[in-house]
Symmetry: D2
Subunit: 306 residues, 4 copies
């Protein structure tokens, strides 16, 4: 590290520590300062530390602060128009693969690098999922922020690629932290407390969820299945906690009666079909008598028995 750089960092941390009582949306200017420092880092040594500072700073923002932050992201973190124009010109003269690649890079908004670097701090992935959830709530009133969303979807599609998702069966031995989230997230057929939840996990019922290694204890999506001897006519009888428990060993039907996306910040980063496919495979292996898989839930393209 050069001396100048060292001095810069020392001043930077000094200023961070001196930050006075929070104001303006609980201090969006502080966050923007940290983000600028994060993007200006050339080595990696301090990246994770500054990213952690930014993550903490985002958590202090209120609605006003987040709005101002999104505006800055849209305005100041786009691709450089000058660089992009240069890359276009070069490609128009000489449309080689490498010039196309350079054009691709010049068109990449600086936000993407910022997001990549935010992810180096502890809790970074979680922050970006939350940040997108916050952003989505403002899009109706601020259509100009759609390009931020496009960038977030882009990166989340990379990071939540099927290859990184881990399927887990949820049962009564699962941590209360996870189970509580299932109760909170289930939107289609609300879970009425712990007894209702338990009824959905065991005996002739199954529940599976996808997790991501960077989001501990956070289900991304979960699906609830009933193993029955015949096609269930309506979901009410499946949900009724008084319906007698059946022996699943000879079940012929697996009824997917509910599927829930847990993370609003992952809207459009679809893994529902992957989940269903994997669960069909696992159930087929565990219950040889199963003959039919069907859904009672409005899952697009998945309605009928198959």
């Amino acid at each position: 590290m050069t001396d100048r750089r060292r001095q810069f960092l020392r001043r930077f941390w000094h200023s961070v520590r001196l930050t006075p009582i929070r104001k303006r949306g609980q201090d969006v200017d502080h966050l923007l300062g940290v983000c600028a420092a994060l993007l200006s880092q050339r080595g990696e040594v301090s990246t994770a530390r500054i990213a952690a500072e930014a993550i903490a700073a985002y958590d202090h923002l209120n609605d006003e602060g987040r709005g101002a932050f999104f505006d800055a992201l849209a305005k100041d973190y786009s691709a450089s128009a000058a660089d992009l124009q240069r890359a276009i010109d070069a490609y128009q003269i000489n449309p080689t693969p490498l010039n196309a690649h350079a054009l691709h890079q010049a068109a990449e908004p600086r936000r993407q690098e910022l997001f990549r670097r935010l992810n180096t701090g502890a809790g970074g992935t979680q922050l970006l999922v939350r940040l997108r959830a916050d952003l989505l709530q403002t899009l109706d009133d601020h259509p100009e922020r759609a390009s931020i969303d496009a960038d977030l979807v882009h990166l989340l599609r990379w990071w939540f690629n099927r290859g990184f998702l881990v399927l887990q069966r949820i049962d009564w031995r699962t941590s209360a932290t996870v189970l509580e989230r299932l109760i909170a997230y289930e939107a289609v057929h609300q879970i009425q407390g712990w007894d209702d939840l338990r009824r959905r996990l065991e005996a002739d019922r199954r529940c599976y969820a996808f997790f991501h290694p960077a989001l501990r204890d956070e289900p991304l999506i979960f699906i609830e299945v009933a193993l029955t001897s015949r096609l269930a006519g309506d979901v009410q009888s499946l949900l009724d906690i008084r319906t007698p428990v059946a022996d699943p060993t000879h079940a012929r039907w697996a009824m997917f009666y509910s599927i829930t996306n847990c993370q609003p910040g992952l809207r459009g980063v679809s893994f529902g079909n992957f989940l269903i496919k994997q669960v069909v495979e696992d159930l087929s292996r565990d219950f040889r008598s199963l003959r039919k898989f069907a859904t009672l839930s409005p899952i697009p393209g998945f309605r009928s028995g198959f």
Copy 2:
């Protein structure tokens, strides 16, 4: 799934099964057919299965086959020139953020989506790391393949972001599978069998590695440290297995005497500095007497005590 699609897939799998005895580089045409099918998938349902088929097909290729595959990747999986030109034109007329975003996407080679989809199959991440290692060996003779490499680096930077790496101490309780790889990978100061290895893991020595959740048992990079009472003048005395073991409790120096990147396919996707930084933090916490950290190894920008 529409009936036409279903028919297509049925024919596709039929042809896959009929594939005769392998030829032409152990059948690069088969791999290219599978890749085409993979990119043409609109739903997710069969993606992982086709990806697995492609991964297996790549493993059958010989040098000739890999060469032909790389050529196809360079030629047939670039961005569409027509689409890119249209996006350029739209941006030139109206340089809005969304048009810049569309341009960014149009400039993205189709390879990237192919790679993303390959990653949905079991072993996909490992394949892509290996594929890049194979590619790098051919770049000198085939500079026109540099754009493939640029795309691979791009995606590997996303996927091997610091936020997803897991630090683990390596000691004698570590799995033999991992330890054996350390012996194989260590290039700077060769490890002379299991006894030499053990000497580097315990007592006044430490070893740490980064792992990625999708690459089980595969160290990405590892670092070896000696805890000493004074600055070691040369690395030979540290490496000599006859050097007496010292009590690390009162060590003042942590000498990073070797750092090894294990995956040629991750060249340039640097995490060495992150590793050092994290290890410095962990050692400082575990050994309160440490005062100095230094390196004996030619790590760029890391030579002197700090």
Copy 3:
């Protein structure tokens, strides 16, 4: 295995399978037959299988059946009077250590070997703990069964020796299976559902339990602690779910406000003091500000601050 033995086993299993519809206390005679077979085993090969059969048979007993089984244990599984007399005579003639040892063995009721062999079947340890709980409920009316209890206490003291117990902190990440048992078992200060439970696990509260490797998910004993800035006058304020959460970092008092033995079958096999001692050590290490440990609960010999 000799042919005769093989024939015996074949007939034995045959008879087991032919066992008609259950009767007499849900078939205590079947259980006694299996126990006889278990004790007559000379090799180990079939021991675990016969033990599993006995464990299943015990589970089918009703009150009448258990009573008959206990009577048989008391009557038919004592030490052999003849053997014991012989050992006494030998010792009286020649009181050597080995004759004392032989006397010790001759005085050992055959029950103990039966119990040891029952423990080789899956779920054996759990069965013996349950069996003792069942037995204890009958002791008032059947004082002649006290010697069975003495034998069970003897073996449980061996098996639940401190050296085999595992301390675990219980928090909200613990499995629901375990948490539900805490709610069910807590007798002193009843837990009012999951919210009340959670309040007792986190922030300025802690909960620890002992487990045994052979009893999965079964807490043996647990203790609840409040970390407070001053001596709490009464337990009600600690239990009140509306009492504000305090920062435990600067707590000076650790108030053990409840300790619960979970297994009636382990009555008198005490590990409460071990638990307290270990928790005091763990808390002292985690919270350097703690100065006083006290109990609000009637724990014999543990009432005052210490």
Copy 4:
């Protein structure tokens, strides 16, 4: 705790700390003092701490010290002759079950309670296994110590009951700590280093071991199996590292070619047959083509195919 007791303990720890430079077999008197303190404990609070002190003290003994310790165990830790005579007299007058039980207890050497209490300290189980191994080496010259051995076997039979043993497959993913012990322990067909070991763990070979929860990383016994298409005539061809690897999927024979007891201190506490039985079950489940199980190793009562 009473004040007198507290004073006693304070003096006790004081004396412990003042213990001068070790002598007489590296201070067997210190160990005997600690053992006396351990047995005199009435509560549990200090038991584990004193047990830990005793465990450490035993580790300092040399041959002379261990001999003196064994002599003391034989002489001073037997059953009380007076108590035993009283119990005999009571039983002779009135041979009730409870009097038989009292006699059983009076005949129990005080060693057993000492051993139980030693087990409460960290590493206690390991110590007792080691202590018995040490003792066994002296029995030829000191037949009077046989009663100590009888007591140790008695307690080890309780503690290493099949119900507490855990079966694990050993493969190349196993910790090097465990693998190294296999190399060291295998006596019948010596393992020639890590390559030879690996050949015995994978592909058409399997290796399984029993572990006990209180002895981390310590295999108790392990068995080596070759999966072959036909009965192997001699063990040499199985052991030869140049013998080609076969596909085990269609193997018809499982040849148990070596079984090794790892702990001399557990001699006579047999679990070999349990291990074989469990492994036969596991292999039968994993390899449906297996038809015959045989042994090439001199395992008593297990020689022929079955």
